[in-house]
Symmetry: C2
Subunit: 238 residues, 2 copies
C-alpha cells in the first residue's frame, strides 16, 4: 500500500469525480475525516492541501473545504504532460511520424547548459504529431545520452516519456517552460500542414530529473489555430 495521505487524496478525488461530493458543497470537516480514515489531523490536512493545490477544493478558514467545479477535467496541458496523455484526454486518434533520430553533438541552445560537457552526446529526435489527419505539432526533442543510452524509432513513435518513466525508471521532476509565438521556418513548412499560417506557437521546455540534472530539451511547435494552453493558478501570498 502507498502513503496514507495519498490514499486519502485519491479517495476524495474519486468521490468528487463520481459526484459523491458535489461542486459548491462542503467536504466533511478535517476532524470528521480524521475519524473516517483513522488517522491524525496533519495527515488529513496533507491530503486536503494536495486537493487544494490541484484545484479540486478551496479551503476557507472557519467554514470548511468547498468542492470546486471540475476544473481538472478540461486541462489539456498543465504542468508536464506528454502528447500521448494529452491526445488520450482529447479522445482523438493521434499519430506520430518520426522524421529524424540520431546522435549528435550539443547544439547552440544546449552547449552552454551547466549540466552538459562538450563530450556529451545528444539524441536528436524530430517528430510530427497528427490529430484527425492533420500534422499540427512539430516536436524537436534533445535527450542526453548519459541518461538515455539507447533510443529506437518504435519508442519515439509511441511515447518517449513512457519509455523514460516505465522502462528506464527515470523520475521526471520538473520543467521550465516558455511559450512564445514565432514565424514559421522552412522546417515547419516541411513537416507541418501549415495551412497558410505564417506563425507558430513555440513551447520550449527544459526537463529535469529528481537530482536536478537536465535530461531533455524540447521545442514543441504548434499551429496557432490548434494551440490551447489551460492553467489553474493560485495566487501565492509569499
Amino acid at each position: 500500500m502507498q502513503n496514507k495521505y495519498l490514499t486519502i487524496y485519491q479517495d476524495i478525488v474519486d468521490e468528487i469525480k463520481d459526484a459523491k461530493y458535489k461542486p459548491d458543497s462542503k467536504l466533511p470537516s478535517e476532524n470528521a475525516l480524521c475519524e473516517q480514515y483513522c488517522t491524525s489531523r496533519e495527515t488529513v490536512r496533507k491530503a486536503l492541501n494536495l486537493l487544494s493545490q490541484n484545484g479540486y477544493i478551496q479551503k476557507v478558514r472557519g467554514k470548511g473545504s468547498i468542492v470546486l467545479g471540475l476544473s481538472k477535467l478540461d486541462f489539456p496541458i498543465s504542468g508536464v504532460v506528454s502528447f500521448k496523455e494529452l491526445a488520450q484526454k482529447m479522445g482523438d486518434k493521434p499519430r506520430t511520424i518520426v522524421h529524424q533520430l540520431h546522435l549528435d553533438k550539443p547544439n547552440d541552445t544546449l552547449i552552454n547548459h551547466p549540466s552538459l560537457t562538450q563530450q556529451d552526446r545528444i539524441w536528436e529526435v524530430v517528430r510530427s504529431r497528427e490529430i484527425n489527419g492533420e500534422k499540427i505539432i512539430l516536436d524537436k526533442d534533445y535527450l542526453l545520452q548519459k541518461h538515455v543510452p539507447s533510443l529506437t524509432e518504435e519508442i519515439c513513435a509511441d511515447s518517449i516519456y513512457e519509455y523514460l518513466e516505465k522502462d528506464l525508471r527515470l523520475q521526471i521532476s520538473f520543467a521550465k517552460k516558455e511559450i512564445v509565438v514565432e514565424s514559421v521556418t522552412e522546417e515547419d513548412q516541411c513537416y507541418l500542414d501549415v495551412d497558410g499560417h505564417d506563425q507558430v506557437v513555440v513551447v520550449r521546455s527544459f526537463v529535469y530529473l529528481e537530482d536536478t540534472s537536465l535530461i531533455q530539451y524540447t521545442e514543441s511547435r504548434h499551429r496557432t489555430d490548434k494551440f490551447r494552453f489551460v492553467d489553474f493558478a493560485r495566487r501565492h501570498q509569499p
Copy 2:
C-alpha cells in the same frame, strides 16, 4: 510578526537572491535549520516545501535540499500577476490608457456563469497597455459590481488589482486561465499598435475570491511578437 514558516521561507529566499546560498550547493539540513530558527522540524519543512513549490530548491531524499538556478527571477508571468507587477519587473515605463469604463449587463461569456444572476451588473473596462511607447496589450476587464461597488478612471489607469487587494481588502485566491491565438479584431486594430500583425495572443482568465465566488473575467490581448509566458512546472505524481 507574521507566520514562523513564512518568515523562514522569506529569509531563505533572500539569502538565495543574495547568493549566500549558491546554485547547485546544498541548504543546511532540516535539523540544522530547526536549531538555527529555534523551531520544530515540521515548521522548517513547511518553509522548504514552499521553496520547492516555487522553484527555488529541489529536495532529494537521503541527500539534502539543492539550491536551483534562479528560475523565478526571469518569470514575467506565472500564476496570477498584474500588469503593474509585471512591468515593474521588466523595468520599463508602463502606461495605461483607459478607453472605456461603464456598468453593463453580463455579456455572453458571463451570462451563464454559476456565480452570476441576470440582475448582476458588470463593470466593463477597456484599456491599452503601453511599454516603451508601443501599445502592445489590450485588456478587457469585467468586474462584478457586487464585489466592486465603485470604480474610477484613476484606479483603472493605475492598477485594478492593487485597488482590490489594498483598498477593498479582497483576497484574490485563484484563476483559471486559457491561452490561445486568434485573428486581430477591429477593436484590436483600434486600440493596439498592431504593426502589420494579423494575429494576437489571447489570455482569458476567470478570477476567483477566497470564498470561490467569481469576481472578474479578463481578456488580455497581446501582440504576438511581444508575448512571452514562462512557467515552472513540477510533475505531480498523484
